[in-house]
Symmetry: C2
Subunit: 343 residues, 2 copies
Amino acid sequence: MGRPTIADIAERVGVSKGAVSFALNGRPGIAESTRARILQVAKEMNWRPHSAARALGGARADAAGLVIARPASTLGVEPFFAQLLSGLQAGLSARSVALHLMIVEDAAAEIEVYRDWASAHRVDGFIVVDLKVRDPRVEVLEELGVPAVVLGGPGRHGALSSVWADDREAMLSVADYLAALGHRRIAHVAGLPEFRHTQRRMRALRDSSRRLGLADTVSVTTDFSDAEGAAATRTLLSRPRRPTAIVYDSDVMALAGLGVAGEMGVRVPGELSIVAFDDSVLTRIAHPSITALSRDTVAYGRTLAEVMLELIDDPGRRRDVRTATPRLTVRESTAPPGSWQED
Amino acid sequence: MGRPTIADIAERVGVSKGAVSFALNGRPGIAESTRARILQVAKEMNWRPHSAARALGGARADAAGLVIARPASTLGVEPFFAQLLSGLQAGLSARSVALHLMIVEDAAAEIEVYRDWASAHRVDGFIVVDLKVRDPRVEVLEELGVPAVVLGGPGRHGALSSVWADDREAMLSVADYLAALGHRRIAHVAGLPEFRHTQRRMRALRDSSRRLGLADTVSVTTDFSDAEGAAATRTLLSRPRRPTAIVYDSDVMALAGLGVAGEMGVRVPGELSIVAFDDSVLTRIAHPSITALSRDTVAYGRTLAEVMLELIDDPGRRRDVRTATPRLTVRESTAPPGSWQED
DNA sequence: TCCCGCAACTATACCGGTTTAGTACCCCCC
DNA sequence: GGGGGGTACTAAACCGGTATAGTTGCGGGA
């Protein structure tokens, strides 16, 4: 015999399928003694629910969906993403909710997967990352009527819930700090231009520039890879009036930039200050160690999980959770410009 | 009306449910003209299969299961794991197979999840990582009769398939290289002692030591974290006759070790050579850059996916795929001992 | 004493597909 | 013109649970 079903249990105990179902789900209408007998036999036979059968009846899938449209290669590089994933998973696992994951080529394929999984009841909700400017996914998810949490915000994600950190505030604090050190030419090696948070950081730097009366602030967009981060740094440092400080949109790019500075003979922090968005083991163990905007990424993922679980319980809700603004952790890579201290 | 079912299509076209099912699955016994009409209507109504209903009938789940028993925090740190995951996903996605992921507390919980998912037909097979010495999971998976691919090998995974790289060979090549440079005291900062690959690397170094007549080779086990990697390095470098070369079981620990060397005033590679298992952006952009055993981790993941897909197609099979042995990529962190060159 | 009401069940429909047994019909051929 | 065989379908069972309407038996109140 294959795996036992509730019908097998019912036969063995001598009751009906319905009684077994009621007993196993702790619903009233079954005598305590009968319930105990059923549970006993179920345990003996090593019975386990068949989630597909339950799902057919409209029950939970006990899974959250995460679809990512990125080249697989860039995924592996970023500690941020891996940490987020592990926090997310940890949060979901506490309630035995699995993560249904898929990497696809582009946004169109991503939307296709949303439709598939939603109509197949494969997941109870979606987690949306890499929110873009005028993101078509938002509309689709609203139409599908499936719970969804957007990572990033605030705003522009319609009726969907979101979890976000204040990128703008973080960038302003970096600009203030660098300006206070005396920097006038600040560059920004940003991520993908179509991401909302990239735009927000760029705008924040522009605004700071105006407010603080800085000379040349410039943002260069990249694909987040260490290669493009290095290339952008090379370009910036080759300018006639090169920047005295560079802010990177990821720790990986900051580390790559640090390498380029070394290769070009530009001293850090003597001639160039470096700040990284996102803190990780990379920034801590670099030499010199890198000043970074740190946040607890694992906790960020856990918050995401929390909101997702709430939404699954109560699909009508909409929540916007703002997590702690990343705080500047000052290390060795920042100093007043032109300070020729030994590194 | 909710989402359309094949019954809705059948009604609209004026045929039976069975005919629609046959048409949609491209099975013979339906006239071409009828099939075309059915497909047309299905498309119009935006029909999508309900995977739970299919699964009930015993069909594929189109998902592979990956359960990891590790603290979430260590997961986020390692580029190796993230890259493996992205390669795996990329390989699976090509055939629209999703990854069902769950992080659990311990091995017992992991086994529980195997039983659950297997009996619920939630996944078509499992991917097993972190193979341990006398791993109880192997037996359970064999008993469940579900396809499974073990990462790591060879041997000791019973009837299960595996994908592995030759850790032993790799460690031997490192020892040979360091000995050729003139090193006599080689230390090894290893990973978790219960992992098979950790054991294999430790044994390989011991064997090399005997074969090459080295003085003090020693392996210290850690939990793979940068903190323990740093601590182990500190201990090793504080010994009266400290090692002239250290091999680390991960790139993260190697980088942490490099930091400790700097902090203790030990020059790399002048006074200490450093080699890392697993190559990544970390080893490339460190200063000095770190000599590493590189392999294409993303490709490794893709191979894993390939074997998994084969097993899903033909559950009776058993495959043992040996992937390319990691090759030594020499960078700036290795040199003959006592060479006081500038770094 | 009779009826009501409730607890403790049973029997059965249902979810949305797949699959099998059965049937109507046509063509071919002796 | 009747039998054989294949094609193109239909009807219904089935997968393993959940939900619901119905049934039985018992205790209590009028």
